[in-house]
Symmetry: C2
Subunit: 339 residues, 2 copies
């Protein structure tokens, strides 16, 4: 558990990536109680400096002793690096909030979205996992509906932005778009096919069962976070040529009937959710509006008449913020609150 | 009914639009038996000429007598113009294949996708309706599965290209993209919000029930084309920054169990469908590959374990071809075959 004190020596591991960068920004914006901020990245980033509270902080490389004295470490450096270094950090007495997929389904590691299952922070053993971006925004919306009417089944199709893949994918979309507008040939380095002016029903690798890892993350992480193995989720995850924010088309079936007005009322009162839903006035969430926001936005709420208790809706959240950096910082804030 | 003869005086109404243009190209490519091609458009297009079989054909404006002697007229000029002029053409003894929404749900008018319900052409009274683009590609895939296992329910989310809106939307996506890359302010003329690097869960106008007209077209047209009111469809239709081809994420539930191998076998044998599905080799349909193709491509076929008899799949078709121009020309070809 985190020691009770006023300010914390805090580290960001993977500080030069798209999410790591957002973590530093989020710590600053939210006035996180930092005694000292330490930034880590791979050798390639040696010599770089990142601005935090009007100071330029040098980026360090990881070593066996680098976590000594660190209270909280936010990791966003990929599963491989996390596998090696999160236990090193934890052994140093530091609490790790890890954004990779490495520890998420480990029964010894809580998988937390503060609005949904902050109580699971109580049993952590040094590592806490931050869920997958597309799962986080979904469970923030699903949990209050589950509490009200018990979820039976969720059919979800996602529209995921390239920033979910990282800075190199942001660059690729930009470069491919410019090349097409300039009648140049398009090259693909990050994705197997052109992403500019295209959509790819392929996120992360394919598994034996025909689903992608990303799709199975939505299935399995949802159950673990909400804490109910009976919730059935089936997912199709799709990359779209959007820079920031993931959108999701959700079809849900509940045990108890909910009218669309009841769904609106429940979600309006839910933490971290904003109901943005007045189709007659063209009010519904879209990625360019939600970019930079902390909440998950919900619109297009309507009853699905093809089943007894069905609801369709459309949710959008900033995948770098609530889908990654913000959720990790919120976990750290909860830990402090509970210390 | 169409008179039996070798070649037909054929008209395209709305010849200067994105779909009309594609109709002229499709008639040429498929060596449609044309005696004479006549092209119609609004006054704005007066003086224009369009190439057909190496001839430049002048664009005419519509008048009460312009359909005299015309055997077949393909209309793609919007619902309003179709409401006025399709009956005029039909009264002249011409068979109209209309691409607008005007006549689709009229019980006196067959709504036809040749692979699915060519038999409905028998009872036409001068006007035949071409279904909505997003519906056509879906029913081509659903029909053989319905025949094999009886469809109970379909949950569909679409990723629709801007060409579905017309040439002005193609121009808007191009212009907005260039403006963003050049750090200029973005203006919106066709869509209510920026479509470049964004997605809009809004196609056609919103109805009382919270669904869009586009969504209800998918619900209602599917039942009429397949000829089974018991098929339940719920849809979320979304515009994406893609120039050409609509993609659809389909979740279906059947009465009888179908394994993913059975679905693959059924669809491989289905007319107008190509199974393109080997995820391990990154083989799945994407818009930039399917553009210009006649068939509907299906991939990501996998069993949905959240229900007894569920299948997820991903389908892509060229919305200007199979979704509009090609389907209309195929209807005309069927009429000739049946004459």
């Amino acid at each position: 558990m985190l020691k009770k004190k006023g300010k914390y020596i805090t580290a960001v591991v993977g500080a030069t990536g798209a999410v790591g960068n957002e973590m530093v920004k989020t710590l600053e914006e939210r006035a996180f109680p930092i005694e000292k901020l330490r930034l880590f990245a791979s050798e390639r980033s040696e010599g770089k400096r990142i601005e935090f509270r009007e100071m330029m902080i040098p980026v360090e490389t990881l070593n066996e002793k680098c976590f000594e004295g660190v209270d909280i470490a936010l990791f966003s450096a990929g599963a491989e690096r996390s596998k090696t270094w999160a236990p090193v950090a934890a052994r140093s007495g530091c609490v790790v909030v890890d954004n990779s997929s490495q520890w998420r389904m480990d029964p010894e590691v809580p998988l937390v979205v503060p609005e949904v299952n902050a109580h699971d922070l109580k049993w952590h053993k040094g590592i806490i996992a931050n869920p997958n971006c597309s799962t986080i925004q979904m469970v923030v919306v699903l949990k209050p509906l589950h509490d009200a009417a018990r979820l039976k089944r969720v059919v979800v199709t996602t529209f995921q932005s390239v920033s979910g893949t990282g800075q190199k994918a942001i660059d690729e979309l930009m470069r491919q778009t410019a090349d097409i507008l300039n009648f140049k040939e398009v090259t693909c380095k990050v994705y197997p096919y052109q992403i500019a002016f295209n959509v790819l029903p392929h996120i992360d690798t394919f598994l034996e069962n025909g689903y992608t890892k990303e799709e199975m993350k939505m299935v399995n992480e949802t159950k673990k976070i909400i804490g109910d193995e009976a919730i059935r989720v089936t997912a199709t995850t799709v990359r779209v040529p959007v820079f920031r924010c993931h959108s999701e088309s959700l079809n849900i079936e509940t045990e108890k009937k909910l009218t669309q007005d009841e769904v609106r009322a429940i979600l309006s009162a839910a933490p971290g959710v904003i109901v943005y839903d007045a189709p007659g006035k063209n009010i519904y969430p879209i990625p360019i509006d939600v970019a930079g926001r902390d909440e998950t936005y919900v619109g297009r709420i309507r009853e699905d008449e093809t089943i007894e208790n069905g609801i369709n809706m459309w949710i959008v959240a900033d995948n770098l913020r609530k889908g990654a950096a913000l959720n990790a910082v919120q976990i750290a804030e909860k830990l402090i609150e509970m210390a």
